[in-house]
Symmetry: C2
Subunit: 216 residues, 2 copies
DNA sequence: GCTTATGTACCGATCGTTCGGTTCAATACA
DNA sequence: TGTATTGAACCGAACGATCGGTACATAAGC
């Protein structure tokens, strides 16, 4: 069994925010100069770990190093706007790092491998929770944000199905395989964290690859 | 596509609480006399839909029909004790309705089918969220309760693996298949709700059955 | 000076929890 | 039998803390 705890060894090649740094005093001399993008990345981390109602404004303030007024300067709409921005960020990140490479013209296996590799990094082999899964629980989410969150998964499935279809797999079967792969990833994330075993996640990724690339 | 919204048609044969009934006036003449079991079932419903921090005491009071102090009469430990009781309830329900039948001596296929059927009812074909998934997000969960929640999934996998092993499948392969089946179920729950399509769930259940019963 | 950014202080609402008190059936005692 | 006594179940009011959000004055950067 590969325990979850020994933290990330591999360097991340993509720019998904990582796990919450606990202490991280944030030296005052270090020129805050908070760009909206930096803030959103930290919010992404917070919301994926704590969900919507679990992330209090005081937590957000602490995590970003910004006071309440600064937060409301950047996000006049309050928490709703923050989580909406985070959903947009996550969607664009997945779009750019995971879905766009799927649309290339290299062999399908290469593109699928790239997707699974980036996915694995995004979730740190199952150590990091999925924003979509965390936000799907939140009853207080604004409908607009809830729609955005659901759209992430739907787009992922659609892009994956399109790639398979482009490689000659019939539309219905492509959709079936794509859905199964996303199910595999999401289920593995939950089970890996529940059993504190990254092996569960990596194993599921191999299964997903095998099913996606199976002969017609 | 099979939309999520048209509510449950099939009658439930087992005693998993269903979805939240909205109005439910609770006639005052009907001698409440809430048994602890009745209360816990309603709490189960609430926590699986709203998560831990998403279920406020006012929600709990409304859902159970009990005043705040009555709730503290039954659960002196407050919300922590409530969610702990709900975890115990869910574990015992799964144990009795899903895991115990797995240990019978009928053909494996029959037992697996029974498990999948009961599972399907528990989640109402993907319309109802999983308590485990909902509570895994909650940062405020007492460690004891978090452990109980994780144990539910682990026990499920272990029981399923044991059944497969008892049917002649090598231990390692049995564990692999059992884990994959739970991953499938949990992933399907998320994806089905995100795409509002129960077909995703039922399709995943068929996949799980096929993989579990595949020839060695 | 004007805009952007931030800190301090504060708001009403709601959080989980506790308190004082009522109802009512069962029990003990006369 | 009639009458205290008990204790479980229940309630709404109110607690201190924290929630999300606002107002305003002060800087910093152009």
């Amino acid at each position: 069994m590969v325990p979850l705890s020994p933290k990330r060894v591999s360097e991340k090649r993509f720019d998904f925010p990582g796990q919450l740094r606990k202490g991280a005093p944030m030296s005052a001399a270090a020129r805050p100069s908070h760009s909206r993008d930096e803030i959103v990345r930290k919010l992404f981390d917070l919301f994926r770990h704590r969900g919507f109602e679990g992330a209090a404004l005081s937590d957000i303030s602490e995590a970003t190093g910004l006071g309440r007024s600064s937060l409301y300067h950047h996000f006049p709409g309050g928490k709703d706007e923050m989580v909406s921005a985070v959903a947009d960020f996550a969607h664009s990140q997945i779009e750019a790092n995971i879905l766009a490479p799927l649309a290339g013209d290299t062999p399908l296996a290469e593109r699928v491998d790239a997707m699974l590799q980036t996915t694995s990094e995004m979730y740190d082999c199952g150590r990091e929770p999925c924003l979509v899964a965390s936000l799907m629980v939140s009853p207080g989410l604004a409908p607009e944000s809830a729609g955005k969150v659901q759209a992430i998964l739907k787009d992922w499935i659609a892009a994956l199905a399109a790639a398979l279809e482009g490689a000659g797999i019939p539309a219905a079967e492509a959709k079936r395989r794509a859905t199964a792969a996303i199910i595999d990833i999401q289920g593995a994330l939950l089970v890996a964290r529940a059993s504190a075993d990254t092996g569960v996640f990596t194993g599921a990724m191999e299964t997903a690859r095998r099913n996606l690339l199976a002969p017609a």
